[in-house]
């Protein structure tokens, strides 16, 4: 994670962990879809298989938690916390709109990967906005 153009040892470790978990997530998701396409499982086995891609997703959030604990720079930690709040707010806002629309007009539920994409997009945008907003000019 690079905030204000700086990388710390903790952020490098965070990037490595995220790279591993994201690759794992893609591999697991593709694996699950392939298995279901060929084996056609149903019942509890289908539930169990659908739960597997959530594990790398949990690992991603775990990596974020570990990063917040390891990061020594108070300012970078604050920016990450704010971005986390923004990501959660964006995710919950979209979910509540979808919940209300589902309840009152029978709209469809959100697609499988919306939450993950939405959270990390808002997280990244929040981080970029804060970084640009707090930029210090060279002469300052």
């Amino acid at each position: 994670m690079s905030v204000c153009g700086t990388t710390t040892p903790a952020s490098r470790r965070y990037q490595q962990r995220m790279l591993v978990t994201m690759s794992l997530y893609l591999a697991v998701t593709l694996g699950v879809v392939t298995i279901v396409k060929h084996a056609h499982p149903h019942g509890w086995l289908l539930y169990a298989i659908a739960l597997v891609p959530a594990l790398p997703m949990l690992a991603m959030m775990g990596a974020l938690g570990v990063y917040l604990q390891e990061e020594k720079d108070e300012y970078i930690r604050l920016i990450t916390m704010r971005s986390l709040l923004a990501g959660t707010a964006g995710l919950l806002a979209v979910l509540v709109v979808n919940d209300v629309l589902r309840s009152i007009s029978g709209a469809a539920a959100l697609p499988a990967f919306t939450s993950w994409v939405l959270f990390f997009v808002v997280f990244g945008v929040a981080q970029a906005v804060q970084t640009i907003g707090n930029r210090v000019r060279d002469d300052a």
């Binding site: 998701t29 699950v32 879809v33 279901v36 149903h42 289908l46 539930y47 298989i49 659908a50 739960l51 891609p53 959530a54 997703m57 949990l58 959030m61 775990g62 974020l64 938690g65 917040l68 604990q69 916390m81 704010r82 986390l84 709040l85 990501g87 959660t88 707010a89 995710l91 919950l92 806002a93 979910l95 509540v96 709109v97 979808n98 919940d99 209300v100 629309l101 589902r102 309840s103 009152i104 007009s105 539920a109 959100l110 697609p111 499988a112 990967f113 919306t114 939450s115 993950w116 959270f119």
Partner: protein
């Protein structure tokens, strides 16, 4: 280590007060949205208005947490709240992924609305209780700290 209002710092008291207001506002907005749609027979793009209005208290709740994180002077408590938030977000992401993937894989069922939000609060609560139990200080240690006997 019990729940004692008098011993709480002002940041935590504000969090509880504002959080309660946000949750009550959410319930009220939800009821108002339903009544409005039912009575006025709202249809089409206008349905987005009650849906968006119901979102405001939820965004307000996140703002309440942001205010708490800014006001809290105890670094440890701040870290615990952020961890609880991470657990809540992870629960939401997991449930949306699980539900969406099940439907993608051919499941015909549908979860009722509000399950994900419920998962968020449940995961936050479980994380908070777990951290409280995990970081419990025995009563005699509390007394020693109070008298300045142990550091």
């Amino acid at each position: 280590m019990g729940w004692n209002w008098k011993k709480m710092n002002s940041a935590k008291k504000s969090l509880i007060r504002r959080g309660a207001v946000a949750l009550v506002a959410y319930e009220v907005m939800w009821a108002v949205a339903f009544l409005w749609v039912d009575r006025a027979k709202v249809e089409g793009p206008m349905l987005w208005v009650p849906a968006a209005l119901t979102t405001l208290p939820v965004v307000g709740l996140i703002w309440v947490m942001a205010r708490y994180l800014a006001e809290e002077v105890d670094e440890f408590h701040r870290l615990l709240v952020v961890r609880c938030l991470l657990w809540g977000t992870a629960a939401v992401m997991t449930s949306v992924c699980f539900h969406g993937l099940l439907q993608l894989l051919g499941w015909k069922g549908n979860w009722s609305a509000g399950v994900e939000l419920g998962m968020f609060f449940a995961a936050m609560l479980v994380a908070k209780l777990t951290y409280r139990v995990q970081n419990r200080v025995p009563a005699d240690a509390d007394a020693m700290l109070g008298s300045g006997g142990a550091r």
